[in-house]
């Protein structure tokens, strides 16, 4: 653990915090283009967050402290996750604190708190959102773990930096286990980030929403933090996907400053393509009924388990 690794750690965290809303803006812009709409500004998420921070917070009379602390907890958990996922460099001092399993645990912590906060006011939509969020989570979380397990079995480690180092230095080929895992991961990411076809981030149509239903009562700085945390979550999931399936260009432990400087534009380039693909998926698919979601996520779970079995059987 050296000073340089701390610098790269902080740099990575700062870039994640700053770029996350931009990624969201980029996805929204691409989607608007693809759907023949006039696109909002790329910087709209920043403006929204800034505007929200300036407003006075309105909190319901019967809100408990859980309701008020949750945005901060969710934001902190996502920030810690952003520090752990190797997006720029693999030499990260914080990464030893939480491996892939603990990372999933952090996501679960954020999910549980946001569901509890949604139930706190006792509104019909809040508890419906909480129920649906946990409902999506109980299948998505195991599927995500199985995807990470597949990568762990290949690299013999559950630490994300080690996984990235191993995967990045293999011969470039299509590995069947990772192919299964990749499809499963894409499906899980769509569900976990409240995207179409599981949820619709743009909806306020009451009966179809999942994630938005939990946020209805939030305003001002609390809403700003949750929106920012959601953007960070999307960013984190994108970075996990890039780290597992396109680990090239991330600065290794033995490499120097230059590698990190190179890694930043590479990451941005990968995210640009990733964001466009996400918008494409969202444009090409329709939102499904809530009770089709278990089939969707169950498929993801089975694919992830299959990936793990393929890895054990074929050894690749």
């Amino acid at each position: 653990m050296t000073a340089a690794s701390f610098v790269s750690q902080l740099l990575q965290l700062a870039i994640a915090l700053l770029l996350a809303p931009l990624l969201l803006g980029w996805v929204n812009q691409c989607r608007a283009w693809l759907q023949n709409k006039s696109a909002p500004s790329l910087l709209l998420p920043y403006r929204t967050i800034r505007k929200l921070f300036h407003k006075d917070a309105v909190v319901a009379e019967n809100a408990s402290p859980i309701f008020r602390i949750t945005p901060y907890i969710v934001f902190s958990a996502m920030a810690l996750a952003a520090a752990i996922v190797p997006s720029l460099a693999t030499d990260l001092p914080f990464a030893v604190a939480a491996d892939a399993i603990a990372l999933v645990g952090l996501f679960a912590l954020a999910r549980v708190f946001i569901a509890l906060a949604a139930m706190d006011l006792g509104t019909a939509f809040g508890s419906m959102g909480a129920r649906r969020e946990m409902f999506v989570g109980f299948l998505a979380e195991p599927a995500l773990l199985m995807v990470l397990f597949t990568a762990s079995l290949i690299s013999g480690s559950t630490l994300l930096p080690t996984i990235v180092e191993t995967l990045a230095h293999r011969e470039i080929a299509i590995y069947p286990s990772l192919a299964f895992a990749g499809v499963a991961f894409t499906m899980v990411s769509l569900a976990e980030n409240a995207r179409i076809p599981v949820d619709n981030p743009a909806t306020h149509l009451e009966l179809t929403m999942i994630h938005e239903a939990m946020l209805l009562e939030y305003s001002a700085r609390h809403l700003a933090l949750i929106e920012w945390a959601s953007a960070l979550k999307l960013f984190n999931y994108s970075c996990i996907g890039l780290a597992l399936f396109f680990p090239y260009g991330i600065a290794g432990a033995s490499e120097d400053w230059l590698a990190i400087l190179v890694a930043t534009p590479v990451l941005i380039g990968k995210l640009v393509i990733g964001g466009f693909s996400l918008a494409l998926i969202e444009t090409l698919s329709a939102k499904m009924r809530i009770f089709r979601a278990p089939e969707f996520l169950g498929t993801a779970f089975l694919l992830a388990v299959l990936g793990m079995l393929v890895n054990l059987l074929l050894g690749s």
Binding site: S64, L106, M119, R131, M134, P142
Partner: protein, 664 residues
């Protein structure tokens, strides 16, 4: 070096004495509650300390000249006993403090009588843990079962509670019978029932497997393993809350202790298929328990099913340990066993905390049904905030304790692909998938539990008069919540303690010299690591920093207003999700696992009524047929019952003839 065994015996004797003293003035609440129960708690604490000190020492034995002539009691304290004694002592200390403020004069049996049963229960459990021959083991085991039966049936005027108690007693005895037979097999043909003799006997052919299966059935019945789990969701809600906590937190663990003792200590070698059996059975139990927990509407039943889930996880851990041990992978076996024991300890803490919290809620509201609670965080902040720690721990979230043991168990699963049989290598990822599915559903259950009881708006008007827990109850809840946090934050230290058991049973340890105090890295730091301290410090640090920055940079203005809810005007507390509503998605997906009885109102009902009940298929497929068969056989036998003395004399005569024929 301390002479620990006499101290443990002194603690047992003291508990028995306290129990007897309860009969002196059984109706005096101050005397029984404040004096006797707090003294009992103190003894529990001392027992925990003694056990902790004894953990690193070699086994001590003592022979007590009690019991039948020529059949003295053999007692032994080794690392395995010490670990479970620590669990018992630490949990009992908290629960006794809670009980000091819990029992009221008007309810059910006299507090003094409860005090006797309660402390006999504790003493019997301690005896089970130090027994070194089958005789004292069975005596203590049955005392434990009987004492807990009387505690379960405290409110015996209610028919359901009598029924629950009967079911509990019945299955406890089926289990005890299996354990007795298991010891019968284990003694070989020596006729010597001390555990020492059993260790030295080598069983031939299929006998070790028969012994293991009997142990699995016998201890599984006590632990709530499928399909002998049916008593658990009946008995736990029936008992007073401290007793539920004790049964779920400690008594189920004595069964785990027994299974470990027989499998790893008394039996010389383990076969791989025992491990597969325990693994599959454990995971089936875990999934079954958690699925049923999601659809429960009674808060204590929900926790009881959650206990079934956790016991399933623990037994799956034992299965994995057996599997590794049978292939001589002792280091991996040590990791799996560590995860198992760690989870047992964690479960004792968080489940006791949750059961005690339901006790406080029950006292404050007189209500057990989730559908009539809600919003208690405003009326009962102490209970609500402390229960939150237990909820998060039970949901398996970092940095609390439930996460650490699940993390370790998953690591053990991930290390597996080195076993010689390929189909086991195939089974293990599937088992890992089932385990994470159970864990994720566990989080669902806990959100339901906490959200419906403590959050939202009160569903009934009388909840506005709920009062917070008293002083003693608070101390107990703080004890367990602190335990959940500390066990979660310092896994390296806990594993250092558990290693004594690993060394005894497997001859390998997980701790290595040079391991840092804050970083949990079971095999080596390149394979996997987790540091709850850093996770907590960083999360809290970022949280405080964010609050500071947001308030400084912008402002901290806050207004209170009415709930918005999309502008929907007329809202009542009844529009929140009920317990049924929250579990409905799971019930719908896994419909075939439940036996669902539904009553849907028609549009023309003047008084529409809706109810849905999710029953247990096993009850109808296994238990009722067996019960009917028993009744049918009883009727057959009843035919020879003529009621005439001449017929009975005839039977005696025929029996005599038959016996003479045989012994001729």
């Amino acid at each position: 070096m301390i002479n620990a065994l006499p101290l443990v015996l002194a603690a047992i004797a003291a508990w028995l004495a306290i129990g007897a003293l309860g009969l002196v003035r059984p109706r005096n609440l101050i005397y029984v509650g404040r004096v006797l129960f707090t003294t009992g708690a103190l003894i529990g604490l001392l027992l925990a300390i003694v056990a902790l000190l004894a953990l690193g020492q070699v086994g001590q034995t003592v022979v007590l000249p009690l019991g039948l002539p020529d059949l003295p009691f053999h007692l032994r304290l080794d690392a395995l006993s010490a670990f479970f004694l620590f669990l018992l002592g630490a949990t009992a200390a908290g629960i006794s403090v809670f009980s000091a403020g819990y029992f009221r004069a008007s309810e059910g049996a006299a507090p003094g009588l409860l005090c006797l049963q309660y402390h006999t229960f504790l003493a019997a459990m301690a005896c089970v843990l130090i027994a070194d021959d089958a005789y004292i083991f069975m005596v203590a085991w049955e005392t434990m079962a009987l004492a807990s039966f009387f505690l379960v049936t405290t409110d015996h005027r209610i028919p359901e509670i009598r029924r629950a108690g009967f079911l509990y007693l019945l299955i406890a005895h089926i289990g005890a019978l299996a354990i007795l037979l298991c010891f019968g097999v284990l003694q070989g043909e020596t006729g010597d029932y001390t555990f020492d003799a059993m260790r030295s006997v080598t069983l031939q052919a299929a006998w070790p497997s028969i012994a293991f299966l009997l142990a699995l059935a016998g201890f599984g019945a006590k632990a709530g393993l499928l399909p002998l789990h049916v008593w658990l969701p009946e008995a736990h809600p029936a008992a007073p809350s401290p007793v539920s906590a004790l049964m779920s937190g400690v008594m189920l663990k004595t069964a785990i202790y027994g299974l470990l003792r027989v499998t790893f200590d008394l039996l010389a070698g383990q076969l791989w298929w025992w491990g597969v059996l325990a693994l599959v059975l454990g995971l089936a139990t875990a999934l079954f328990g958690v699925l049923f927990a999601t659809v429960q509407t009674d808060m204590k039943r929900l926790l009881a099913y959650s206990s079934i889930e956790n016991i399933g996880i623990i037994v799956a851990g034992i299965g994995l340990t057996i599997l590794f041990k049978s292939y001589d992978k002792t280091l991996l076996a040590a990791i799996a066993l560590t995860a198992t024991l760690y989870h047992a300890l964690n479960h004792a803490f968080f489940k006791s905390l949750l059961f005690l919290a339901t006790g406080s809620v029950l006292h404050a509201t007189k209500e057990r049904s989730l559908g009539k609670l809600g919003g208690l965080i405003h009326r009962m902040p102490w209970v609500a905030w402390l229960a939150l720690a237990g909820t998060l721990a039970c949901a398996g979230l970092p940095p609390l304790n439930g996460f650490v043991s699940e993390w370790l168990l998953l690591q053990a699963f991930l290390f597996t692909p080195s076993l010689p049989r390929s189909f086991i290598n195939m089974l293990v990822p599937l088992a890992a998938a089932a385990l994470v599915l159970a864990a994720a559903l566990g989080a669902y259950v806990m959100v339901k539990f906490y959200g419906v009881i403590f959050l939202g708006r009160p569903r009934e008007p009388n909840l506005a008069y709920a009062h917070d827990a008293g002083r003693f109850e608070r101390v107990a809840l703080v004890w367990f919540a602190a335990g959940c946090l500390l066990l979660g934050l310092f896994p390296v230290q806990v594993i250092g303690l558990v290693d004594a058991v690993n060394a005894l049973l497997l001859g390998a340890t997980v701790s290595r010299p040079g391991m840092s105090w804050w970083l949990l890295a079971p095999i080596d730091a390149d394979r996997a690591s987790y540091s709850p301290v850093i996770v907590l410090v960083v999360t809290v640090g970022v949280l405080l920093l964010t609050i500071q920055v947001v308030h400084r940079q912008y402002h901290g203005r806050l207004r209170r207003g009415p709930v918005w809810d999309c502008g929907f005007p007329a809202q009542t507390p009844r529009m929140q999700d009920t317990a049924e509503g929250f579990g409905q998605p799971i019930r719908q997906i896994f419909e075939q696992f439940f036996r669902i009885e539904r009553m849907l109102p028609t549009p023309f009902d003047a008084q529409p009524r809706y109810f849905v009940k999710a029953g247990d298929h096993l009850w109808y497929w296994l238990y009722l047929p067996v019960a009917r068969a028993a009744e049918w056989m009883a009727r057959l036998v009843a035919r020879i019952q003529q009621g005439r003395i001449s017929a009975y004399l005839m039977y005696s005569f025929l029996t005599l003839l038959a016996l003479l024929f045989f012994v001729r």
